[in-house]
């Protein structure tokens, strides 16, 4: 009826006036959790803010596609750009080589859209009672805040050298190490820099372990040892202000260990390859041509609460917009015979059907 009135009731939430100010790249979330960005704005939105500090993220790779590298690159680049510390381990002889492939934040895109907005505003006729929601200040504030927390990355532009050569990166190559004690010690020393206490958080840390059970690693058949490493890493991370992300190819583990590892994760994601020139899939999904893979969200971290997150959709398509920007989209099922896509999250895509109806009963 009338213009929106703020509801007054006898109950008023007791917000602590001094929200603790955190360092760059950290955002407060519900239940006292603090988030840091995954480097992919769409993924942050899906997960409800980002990765909570103190959580362990595991990504199940697909042996046929390198999409987990995309996730890792964005994660690592985001940390470096915001001045957070990073520990990286990979099965290659020289992990530093990978740092050269990290993407750079795409700054120019936002500036362009900022210029366009006022012109667009003039063209649009917004009903008068809603104009107050489109104030310039709001938009600006939002954007600046976003930059401090998360960026969109341009995968074609490499990260500037000064980010990579800074003192905040540590690389561990454990190709020749017979067991995990070296890696565990390095993680322990790294995490000791970010102890968790009640005050404000000055800086956060990120650990990225790529292809943890890759066959090249000497310990790759010591399954119990790997599991206990994950467990100790998880407990170390939980008591510090950092996020650890581990990627692993589940096809190389025995099924029972695969399940155990999945249980260890606070947030569990998996990536899947897409078959090329798959006509059935092309008919089933809109936008098939641009997709490079699928991302499934199996578990979302819930720390300090017992309420689970129920996502509307758990499968997303990974697309590279203009071959530069990683976006995640809900799957849109093309209007088809009524097959029940129970394994996909669907949202009504009203694109025109490619099939002319034989079905004209």
């Amino acid at each position: 009826m009338a213009a929106a009135k703020t509801r007054t009731s006898t109950f008023s939430r007791n917000l602590s006036t001094a929200a603790p100010s955190h360092g760059p790249g950290l955002k407060c979330g519900p239940n006292g959790t603090v988030f840091l960005s995954s480097g992919i704005p769409d993924l942050d939105k899906i997960l409800g803010g980002g990765f909570p500090l103190g959580s362990l993220v595991m990504v199940m790779e697909d042996a046929e596609a390198p999409h987990h590298m995309l996730l890792l690159r964005n994660f690592m680049a985001q940390g470096l750009v915001l001045g957070q510390h990073l520990l990286y381990s990979s099965p290659a002889r020289d992990p530093r080589g990978f740092l050269g492939t990290l993407p750079s934040p795409a700054a120019s895109k936002d500036d362009k859209s900022r210029e366009r907005d006022p012109d667009q505003e003039k063209g649009l006729r917004i009903a008068w009672q809603y104009k107050k929601y489109f104030g310039e200040n709001q938009l600006d504030g939002q954007r600046d805040g976003k930059h401090e927390y998360s960026n969109e990355f341009d995968l074609r532009k490499p990260l500037e050298r000064h980010f990579i050569n800074g003192p905040r990166i540590d690389c561990v190559s454990i190709q020749d190490c017979p067991d995990l004690s070296t890696l565990r010690d390095r993680c322990a020393t790294f995490l000791s820099q970010f102890p968790r206490n009640d005050g404000s958080i000055s800086c956060a840390g990120r650990i990225a372990i790529q292809s943890f059970c890759a066959p090249q690693r000497a310990y790759s058949n010591m399954e119990w040892d790997m599991l206990s490493f994950i467990r100790s890493l998880k407990s170390m991370v939980r008591s510090s202000n950092s996020v650890a992300i581990i990627t692993f190819p589940p096809s190389l583990l025995s099924p029972s260990f695969c399940k155990r590892w999945q249980h260890m994760a606070d947030t569990l994601l998996s990536v899947k390859a897409i078959q090329d020139e798959d006509k059935e899939l092309a008919q089933l999904l809109t936008g098939y041509q641009d997709m490079v893979g699928f991302l499934n969200v199996h578990k979302v971290a819930r720390i300090n609460t017992q309420v689970p997150v129920i996502l509307e959709a758990t499968t997303f398509s990974i697309k590279l917009q203009k071959r530069r920007y990683l976006v995640l989209e809900c799957l849109n099922q093309a209007p088809v015979d009524g097959s029940s896509g129970t394994s996909y999250g669907t949202s009504g895509g009203c694109s025109s059907s490619s099939k002319t109806g034989n079905l004209d009963f």
Binding site: R93, P215, N221, L252, Q275, L281, G338
Partner: protein, 377 residues
Amino acid sequence: MAESICRALRDGALEGELAPALTIKDSVASPFALQVFSHVLSQLFSSILAGKSQSRGLVVVSFSRSPSFYLDLLKNKGTDIASSNNQIQILDCYSDPLGWKDQLAGSRNFTALSNEVLVSSTAIVFREVKHMDKLYNSIIELGKGLVGGGKIRFSIAIDSVDEMLRHAPVSSVARFLSNLRSHDQISSIFWLLHSDLHEARVTAVLEYLSSIVASLEPSHQLANGQRGDLENFSLIKHNSKKGKFHVRFKKRNGRVRVMSEEVHIELSGINFTSLPSEGAINQGLVPKVQFSLQLSEKERIDKANVVLPFEHQGNGKPIQIYDGRRSLVDGKHERPFAAVENVQTNENCGSGEIIYYRDSDDEMPDSDEDPDDDLDI
């Protein structure tokens, strides 16, 4: 397709990327991996000789066959070995893989009893297959000897990773292969694998390490436990000459290309033809629909021929009301979609009919008037 595989190996590696790696995998039911391997080997070598490929030399690491096998093979395919000495080298891990002959000869002072033809200019004997590092170094040395240092690349063919796995654990073989792939001077690498000899995990590891996986499967699956059947004999005979060849390419953009072909083994070699049935095997994520919602041509014609059950068809017949005393002939009806209450077909006519008798006079008769006519819009 075999063509695309050979092309991929020919094109080789890009700067900064891992070299393409091919796994040729077979099983007892369809044991043609050696023929496929030989085919790929000879194709790659002829393109190296012709200068059409990125690599300038080929190193064959032979575990399961003597070096003379490869030289004969290439000779039979028409390539001139004598003049191409500086483009192929064979690391002979077949004659004396563990160095026993050496030890025997040394300790007992008798000459080795081998009567192999020495092809020492192209083959070098390697005696320490348990040490993957030394194997790696020897291969790189051989390759550099072929093409020199610098940026020129060479290819590697490994006959049978199975033998390597006998002598060394999976993780060192995996490390060996991935180090080879990441070496600057390696253009492409391919190997042979008999999947029955290993646990599933080992096959998974090798598939993880390769960028192209080619697997051979029998064209007709044999039923288990019925090997004595006459039918199965012909199937087995069939399978000994033909098979299916499935290839999965891991492309750079992260997509997987799946292709299939039929494979025929003849005396002269191996032939690849495209599959007679539908193109690529689809192991898709597509949910299967349980019923068919489409009409075939015949069904569409039949549908057009059905007379819809209005009470009077305008042809003067009296309206009949079912009075319970008639026995109605039941026939079988064959229509994919049946929509009406009383559907019976007359046995005599070939097509379907819908015969409708009104149950009693109480029901409103069908009228010609459109009930929507009295709507006041």
